[in-house]
Symmetry: C2
Subunit: 318 residues, 2 copies
């Protein structure tokens, strides 16, 4: 029997599970070569414009293999429908039988991305966080702050977004638990914060090296394509630690790709996340260092979050 | 709301729908360039051995896009589980929203293959069928005969299989509606039949040119890889008509691939199924001609069968 897990159940279970530990385990297995993740399959549409990405893979000697279907149909917003759609599928790695279908509408991708951000902060952010800076005001901007609270319960937040109205809404939505300041520009976020998360689809740098204070950690979440960029490449040059979630992916997308292309850094400067979290000598050694973690999104995250939700669902039923 | 259609419902609906007409429409659209079908995605397993193929695509200006997940885990039989597993997914081509999940365990692939065989016979077999020859005794050997009956209701059957026991079971399962002869070898099938369907995973030719009588039609269903072959290449040389379900696929798999590699035929001899069924001058013009249709399996068949079952399911509900 294939288990069907609906969105409302996924929303509820996602609050129970330890997604950050799941990401930690996944990134370690990925960097240790224990995963099989073939190239992403793609299907494109012209009218209306849309793209579908099929990501699939497994952790060796595990119970399941996973297929994620994620689409973006950008005219959907005109119809009042979310542009992101999709589902996660789990199959037995022993027999190929379908185990579970998670009708998550893309939500678990948001969760695993936020949990990876929290994992990055856990290992690379300075011990004392004066204020958290958030660049961007969308759904991921909210989730990143929510997941950071699990290890980094700082309540002072500086937010910047292109739309003043959306920045105000971000502040309002957070309510009275947080002290939220709306920054006039990204530089003002950098001036006031030593833990910054960038979450926009910008194709031009928003933060610059001169703005970044010693002792700052930055997690770059937004850039996951050839064209997107939130950090000026000089930031990666200035940084003491530059971490990639996937070194192979950083050769073709994200901040590290941009900085390497601009010859601001060389390949040897970059350490993979799953390697760095296993070796404290590859982590922050003084509070004054600048660290950058570039997250482009790795299929092992999808495998881990889907398994975690499925296992919690089954445990709840029993 | 995503519609979930279970195997028992699929089995029942598959008997109601006109799968042969669905294949006809699909092959015409495919040959006319109205489909988008990217390369197949593949995931391999070592222990136990298994392979997963993800086929996906759409017909332009249609309502849906389709993803088929099909796996073969060949140790499953030791566990009493079918080696083929899988499901079919339908999504809106306008918004990406999931429309339906068909938990077919690979069954619809069998149906669409049998329906394509019946379509081939409809257009290329001689008018008067003296006897139907079936090479192979498995599930597809049964389905091919069942679907042939819709246009070619000949009740005299010659069957050959490597296992005498399985050939006897094939005969017994068909019951008294058919006059079934068990052939001593494939040549005896060819001697007695003018419509032959080959359904085995053989990697060596089973039928040879000297055995094939004038006025015979052969549909080759078994060979769908680089290595499989059921027809000696001289048969394709001798044939008046050589039809491929997909000319691009015939460059790397199936009987036409083997015959071209052996220099028995040239590319120019081959006509695509969807082209040939639109133009009677590309079909049999005399009863004495020999015709071969090579079916390697095309994603448009998956798209068509999945849509047909879904539409019938919805119509039944209303």
């Amino acid at each position: 029997m294939t288990t069907i897990i609906k969105l409302d159940e996924i929303l509820s279970i996602s609050k129970e599970i330890d997604a950050i530990s799941a990401m930690e385990e996944g990134f370690i297995k990925y960097s240790n070569g224990q995963t099989v993740v073939p190239p992403v399959a793609e299907l494109l549409f012209e009218n209306p414009p849309g793209d579908v990405h099929i990501k699939y893979g497994y952790i060796k000697k595990d119970d399941f293999y996973c297929i994620k279907i994620a689409s973006g149909f950008y005219d959907n917003t005109k119809l009042g429908i979310a542009s992101s759609q999709g589902m996660m599928l789990l199959f037995s790695q022993k027999t190929g039988q379908p185990t579970a279908i998670l009708l998550d509408d893309g939500y678990l991708t948001d969760i695993r991305t936020a949990a990876a951000g929290a994992l990055a902060a856990k290992y690379f952010a300075p011990k004392n966080i004066s204020a958290i800076g958030i660049i961007g005001t969308g759904g991921q901007a909210k989730l990143q702050l929510e997941y950071l609270q699990k290890n980094t319960p700082c309540k002072t937040v500086w937010v910047w977004g292109r739309s003043a109205e959306k920045a105000q809404k971000y502040k309002d939505d957070l309510g009275t638990n947080f002290e939220v300041h709306i920054a006039k520009n990204p530089a003002e976020v950098a001036k006031n914060c030593n833990l910054i998360v960038t979450t926009t689809p910008s194709e031009k740098a928003l933060l610059f090296a001169k703005d970044i204070k010693p002792g700052t950690h930055i997690t770059a979440v937004g850039s996951d394509t050839l064209d997107k960029q939130e950090l000026d490449s000089e930031i990666l040059k200035k940084a003491d630690l530059v971490i990639s979630d996937s070194i192979p992916q950083s050769k073709s997308r994200g901040e590290i790709f941009q900085a390497t292309k601009a010859k601001a850094i060389v390949d040897e400067k970059v350490v993979e996340l799953g390697t760095a979290i296993q070796d404290s000598s590859l982590q922050r050694t003084t509070e004054n260092q600048i660290s950058v973690v570039d997250l482009t999104g790795v299929a092992v995250q999808d495998i881990m979050i889907t398994q975690s939700v499925y296992k919690a669902y089954i445990q709840n039923k029993n």
